[in-house]
Symmetry: C4
Subunit: 292 residues, 4 copies
């Protein structure tokens, strides 16, 4: 999550001490505010951005509610254009002050930033009622802006790392779930048949996933005795294999948290193994560097 920004971050990592340094160009200062978060201004900018994104997504959602559109259309339109212009300004500034412009433009967040403002302009240049629907679909991509939130939460890294370590076990688990779904789905198609709503094997597989994950909409329901027995087996299977990913993740997470404790070293006595909430070394009382 933090890698895409590495290209812009790298030069700041040692610049904190030189923050008061003069002769710094506007571009460098802007860069530190927009891409970095090690200065008060940078933190404030990021916070405002998160709020702007959240509210713009909210406006987008409200635009789909009929009675709200009927009553507050001018306000929604105004809000939308305000955000579009704000995000355009932000996008252009980012291009202006990025260390390596093309690296930013081609990065994941660069593309998302562009896609989140483009649809509004496209709707402007290509009028026509029939195009609105397609453009709205593109607009939804602006939601991905929220993904940027993840950047700010160092806690997410531990979860990410754990999932990376467990990814092969989780893949095995999902393959098993899919194979089980195909087997149970085919069986149910045979047993219940189109007359009871199991109109095709893909639909039966959809039903099996609804059942195994214990969602259970009830739109399709087994009606024969044999079908109900197979369903019960599918439910119990789903009910118990949910233990597998939990077990995998917990075991990996416990190991990872253990390892995390050994990553912090006391500057006084060089010993590690401090608890996550420890502020002082338990051996010599020296103040510890902040956790993670």
């Amino acid at each position: 999550m933090s890698t895409p920004d590495k290209v812009q971050q790298a030069p700041h990592e040692t610049s904190q001490s030189a923050a008061a340094g003069e002769g710094e160009s506007l571009r460098k200062r802007l860069n530190r505010i927009i891409f970095g978060w090690d200065t008060p201004a940078g933190k404030l900018f990021d916070l405002c951005l998160i709020w702007a994104i959240s509210i713009s997504v909210l406006v987008l959602m409200l635009e789909s509610v009929e009675w709200i559109v009927r009553e507050y259309e001018p306000w929604l339109r105004a809000a939308e254009w305000t955000f579009t212009l704000l995000f355009t300004a932000e996008y252009l500034t980012r291009i202006y002050c990025a260390e390596r412009r093309w690296a930013y433009i081609k990065s994941f967040y660069g593309i998302v930033d562009l896609l989140s403002i483009l649809p509004s302009y496209l709707a402007f240049f290509i009028p026509g009622a029939n195009n609105l629907l397609i453009i709205r679909l593109l607009r939804v991509l602006r939601i991905f802006r929220i993904l940027k939130l993840a950047r700010y939460l160092s806690e997410a890294n531990l979860l990410m790392r754990t999932m990376m370590l467990a990814r092969r076990k989780i893949f095995v688990f999902f393959s098993s779930v899919l194979v089980l779904s195909v087997i149970f789905g085919s069986l149910m198609y045979m047993v219940e048949g189109p007359a009871h709503g199991f109109t095709s094997i893909p639909k039966s597989i959809y039903w099996t996933i609804v059942t195994i994950t214990t969602v259970g909409y009830g739109d399709i329901v087994p009606q024969t005795i044999l079908g109900q027995i197979i369903s019960a087996a599918a439910m119990l299977t789903g009910y118990s294999i949910i233990a597998v990913p939990t077990g995998i993740l917990t075991a990996e997470l416990a190991q990872e948290m253990q390892r995390d404790r050994h990553r912090r070293y006391c500057p006084g006595c060089q010993r590690s193994g401090h608890e996550a909430d420890a502020a002082h070394c338990k051996h010599c009382g020296e103040a510890l560097p902040e956790a993670k």
Copy 2:
């Protein structure tokens, strides 16, 4: 949970040895019974209070069942007024005997105590059939009295502490669930549309939460093939990310329980690491202080 009472508790912590001391005023004795639970009388009072709260909440619930009201209205009314008067007496006594009166009145439980008796009196002074509904809504707050139960269970502290430690990880998890809900909800609104019950993005997000949490009411159900595929993806996502909070909590709880064992020291040999149910030191056999 135990912090709001710190203001009243503090003076008793050393008073247990002086419990038989004479010359103690009525106020001090009442204080020990009502706010403390280190004397037999205090324990009895708390137990009675819990039962009174539980029964008063039950009466409140039964008042909403039509046929019970029709048949037993006088009894319900009598019970309600009995409890209101009892709780009023308790509230006034608490104010009378609290160490610092304003600290109690302004504390969380002080406000809850007041709110749980106020509506009954308001209904008395402000008559009128049309006001009944609003007052009933306030009455529901009396339910918060049950929260007082938590005070009496020391076991709750371990769970609370664990959740405090895991709060940032849990926040990251909930943010991810919300982002996923917004993405899946918007997608489903595009794919299924108002014709199949997905009348707006907020409603689609509601549907996504129903699906991801594996509740699955079945009031709104995907009907297109693409919609069913996306639903299946949402279900499998929800089914597997439930492992994340479990993993987080288990790992934290295991660490916390480990730490708990190291908090108890043998008065004989000063060694820690005793199991939670140990009554004697495993090293020298000395009786241990009670766990937690």
Copy 3:
């Protein structure tokens, strides 16, 4: 689970070596077969009993299916009377050969044994169509016979012990769930009201439990926007607090399994800490006593 039989078991624990001893009375031999499971005959008897109980419960269940009763009534009746007579014979033999007769008769399994045969005879002596329904209800108690199965599985003990250790934490958890249900239920009754199916607070609480446990029947469903927001909150709450009992149990179970390893001592070098599937001491190679 194994405690109720302690009274009968005790004398056998040292009798295994004297199994071939002559002069043993019939009563003692029967006792060992029926109450004990340390001889081949005792094991065979227990296995037959489990099968007999299972089949008798199955017959009982089939008796409630209309078309099966219509076609196979004589067979079902015959099966039922065979099992009733068999279980009566078993009950009388148990009384005859128990070490302390009254201790058996008054024990939990003694009462269950009696209750599982009584209804059939009651139906015989007290005829009348209107009594059938009540008697059938008593018959269901025969199902509790299955509970005897638990006796034979030593593995159940570890789970039982873990739950005993975690019982206070689990009680705190259930109290919280109930308080949450009452709060959410009352809120939904206020917001949705009788018009949308939330006819009373108890019914709203039922709906909340259906939602929090992620069952989600869909028989009652929120229809106002505010109701759907509160529902979503209830679902997310239920979805995440499921992590709490899992975390509690896993942490306790891990500790208990750890402790279990330290209960087995090597007869050669007296060292403990052997894994559950170890047959030989990892220090000196001596054969270990069987695990648990």
Copy 4:
């Protein structure tokens, strides 16, 4: 999972160094490609096979969708026959080059391989519209081909081993769930009765499983107050006992992963305890053998 192939694998395990050896017969070379996966050709073959199986299963599923059959029947038929012929060729080659032919033919995968091609030929020789349905049922067996995927994932072994270790605890758990289902099912049949959809005890047990596993279709729903109270109890039971298998598996998995770390020895200093992702010994820096 890997055992059925032991008979064919054994001779290759030491043949990797002799891979360039001449004078090797065609049969031996084919054997290594088809049964083994330690050569580039063998890996490629396995990959192609997995894709062929997946696509053939997909074709099979699409054949059950009415409108797809109506439009693309010739294509589906062509695809099906292509796969049937391909799999026949594969089956014959496997028989030709297996070390011990009968061992392969009688092995689980040998029978599955045969069953996955047989139905297509049977449909050819035994024409008749009315037979199609039965044959289609046999065809579904071809799906079991997917099970072969499990062979390729070494990660599955850890999960398998853990489940083997936990199998007795899981059996106890499932017995408890079944006993609970029978008890709750019978109770609900008594309380709700045929008038509210609980037409027989087996159907009530089906409903109980739907409820305890938190699937909750909503096709049968309690309507009396007592029934709703019992349902709530069943839901809360199901909601909390899901913690049991999770706890069991997590505890076992954590132990197993711990043990796994101690299975890898450094070729330099002979010390074990290396983490799963370690490539070098943490003590002497020597390169470690690949994990698992």
